[in-house]
């Protein structure tokens, strides 16, 4: 009598689909439940690995949804410098599901952290929940508060109107306020603020808490955007440091495992959630570490390309021929026009004045 294994597809056999194929041919994506359409507004958030997804979506002609794109006073380089467009809104890295839940709650006014502002070593003002978002810090508290108010309104709009939300889970380790549990993306004192053990504590989320937080976020998202679909990935980037008193490799394995378990639990219970195996593609033994840079932490471009190739193949009906042509600029660039006019009028003014005495 044959065992049940005999009737399973070949992708269930390690030797056939992991050990034998050339590393670039390994494809762990099976049965992706739905497709991202070119017109879908795709928003991204998460840890640093999520930036790669954002970049590739944009380059591949998809409707990478950006609600905070930076004022056109700045050119593309300036916008990038000020972290516009890195993610769909200017929230910076979001490492844990708890942080994601709190972002949602802050955007919809149901959670206001007690900690409102930090200062950095230069006396500039830093948003505790986006400490690196303004490259040199905000110039005043008023500016920080106005920017944050504007930002959260944009985040609210993003959640309400997106079609697909791609979230990359990065960490289980976090630093939080003892007063109200507000999660900070970096330890206070690292990028602004001052570490105070009376006010802050380290916390390493349990797998069950990660699941609960993701469930909470999906409930909240469903309330404001019932048709939203979510793609979860786990960042393959190891912890740069652990705050647990143990080897960082051990901590990394715990974190990634907990996050991966949470994704599996969530995906099994919700039809609008799909898991995409970026983690497996980058870290799988089949590539023998090829997809990590020299630091053995950051994914290199070859690895990211493998991830995105499979993403486009399985999660979309991507057809390179359908990449939309760039929209024609409908209005002349205001800044360029004004620069030309100001320069011209300045020259004419001076010449006119200089001629008046001759």
């Amino acid at each position: 009598m044959k065992s049940p294994y005999h009737s399973l597809p070949s992708y269930t056999r390690w030797s056939k689909v992991v050990a034998e194929p050339p590393y670039s041919h390994v494809d762990p994506v099976t049965n992706f439940p739905w497709k991202v359409e070119p017109e879908d507004k795709v928003a991204t958030a998460g840890s640093c690995f999520a930036q790669h997804i954002a970049r590739h979506l944009r380059q591949s002609g998809f409707n990478y949804y950006v609600v905070e794109d930076g004022h056109p006073i700045g050119d593309e380089a300036q916008k990038e410098h000020f972290n516009f467009g890195t993610y769909s809104a200017r929230y910076g890295n979001i490492y844990t599901p708890r942080q994601l839940v709190q972002l949602f709650e802050r955007a919809f006014g149901t959670f206001e952290p007690q900690e409102q502002v930090w200062t950095d070593k230069n006396g500039r003002f830093v948003d505790p929940f986006r400490p690196n978002i303004e490259p040199d810090g905000f110039s005043s508290e008023a500016e920080l508060f106005a920017d944050r108010r504007q930002h959260l309104a944009k985040v609210r709009h993003m959640f309400e109107t997106l079609n697909v939300f791609v979230f990359t889970l990065g960490l289980t380790e976090a630093w939080r306020s003892k007063a109200d549990g507000a999660i900070f993306p970096v330890c206070p004192g690292v990028a602004g603020g001052t570490y105070d053990s009376e006010k802050y504590e380290f916390y390493n989320f349990r797998a069950s808490e990660v699941i609960a937080d993701m469930e909470r976020f999906l409930e909240l998202l469903g309330q404001v955007n019932p048709s939203a679909r979510v793609i979860l990935t786990v960042s393959p980037v190891p912890l740069i440091a652990t705050a647990e008193d143990r080897h960082v490799l051990v901590s990394t394995t715990y974190s990634k495992s907990a996050l991966r378990v949470a994704c599996d639990e969530i995906e099994r219970s919700r039809e609008n959630v799909a898991y995409f195996p970026s983690y497996e593609i980058i870290t799988g033994a089949f590539n023998k570490g090829r997809y990590f840079a020299e630091d053995l932490r950051n994914a290199n471009e070859e690895g990211v390309s493998h991830v995105m190739r499979l993403f486009l193949q399985h999660a979309t009906d991507f057809d390179p021929a359908r990449i939309p042509a760039p929209k024609a600029i409908e209005e002349p660039n205001f800044i360029e026009q004004m620069m030309h006019v100001v320069q011209t009028t300045c020259e004419e003014e001076l010449i006119e004045a200089s001629l008046s005495d001759r």
Binding site: G70, H71, P72, I73, G74, Q78, H81, F82, E134, P135, D136, F138, S139, S140, A142, E143, A146, D147, R149, Q150, E331, F334, I335, M338, M339, V341, V342, T344, T345, C346, E347, E348, E349, L350, I351, E352, A353, S354, L355, S356, D357, R358
Partner: protein
């Protein structure tokens, strides 16, 4: 010692000084406390005259032609001062006309100036970075002038460009043809224009401080209580007129204890 000679180099804001000097009679002649002005002649030398040139290896210097002009025109026994009126209109690129995507920003040292919460908030650093790109061209000229002054044992000053006139109707009425288009022109709100001028002035003042050039602010008598240029001193939408030039030079002369002894083109 027969007085001083001030060499005035610059761009369009020279016009206020030129228009003032045209009809100004000398107050003294050749006394120790006299000052003569030698103003860069844009008609003769061209609006594109390079005030700074690369002497090799990317080291920029004041165009030697300027020193030749000075040598040819200025009496050798006068102590020479240098006045920069370079640039000064970069802020108008952003806020003379209302931007199609309305914005506002906080001026860090003027927290009393409100922001409009109905507009897109742009950080001051974002504004600063853009303005700085525009000011770099004339900052170079300020540097080469300062370096030349230092080498020659002279003192260099920079005159702050005039603040904007408050009234949008004045701006519209005096709008140069180049700014006009088929669509009605919407002038940016006075406060936004003023804030942008503040931001620009700070960049230039800080730059002057960095290179050791003395920054001379617009005299208070030329401004209203909130710092806008009094309308009577406006010439067009972006420049001041001869009465402003008069106030500038009077302040300069009073500061140095000097009396006016005539002017010439450089």
């Amino acid at each position: 010692m027969p007085g001083k000679a001030a060499i005035i180099l610059g761009n369009s804001h020279l016009s206020s000084v030129i228009l003032h000097l045209q009809d100004r009679p000398a107050e003294v002649y050749g006394s120790d406390d006299s000052i003569q002005y030698y103003v860069f002649d844009t008609v003769k030398h061209g609006a594109g005259f390079p005030f700074s040139i690369d002497s090799g290896g990317g080291r920029y210097i004041l165009n030697p032609a300027v020193l030749e002009m000075i040598k040819a025109k200025v009496p050798a026994d006068r102590e020479i001062l240098y006045i920069s009126m370079y640039g000064g209109n970069a802020h108008n690129v952003l806020t003379l006309k209302e931007h199609p995507r309305p914005f506002d920003f906080v001026v860090p040292w003027r927290q009393d100036l409100p922001i409009d919460n109905n507009r897109e908030l742009v950080s001051f650093a974002y504004i600063h970075r853009f303005l700085k790109k525009l000011t770099e061209a004339y900052e170079l000229n300020m540097t080469t002038l300062q370096n030349a002054a230092r080498e020659l044992g002279g003192h260099a000053f920079h005159f702050q460009s005039p603040p904007p006139v408050r009234d949008n109707a004045f701006i519209l009425h005096h709008l140069e043809d180049w700014f006009k288009s088929d669509q009605p022109v919407e002038v940016a709100a006075p406060l936004l224009r003023y804030k942008m001028w503040l931001a620009h002035s700070k960049i230039i003042a800080d730059y002057c401080s960095g290179i050791g050039m003395e920054f001379l602010e617009t005299p208070q008598s030329a401004k209203d209580r909130d710092g806008y240029l009094l309308e009577e001193h406006g010439r067009d939408s972006t420049h001041a007129g001869p009465s402003f030039g008069k106030i500038l030079l009077n302040q300069f002369e009073q500061r140095l204890g000097l009396r006016y002894d005539g002017w010439a083109w450089l």
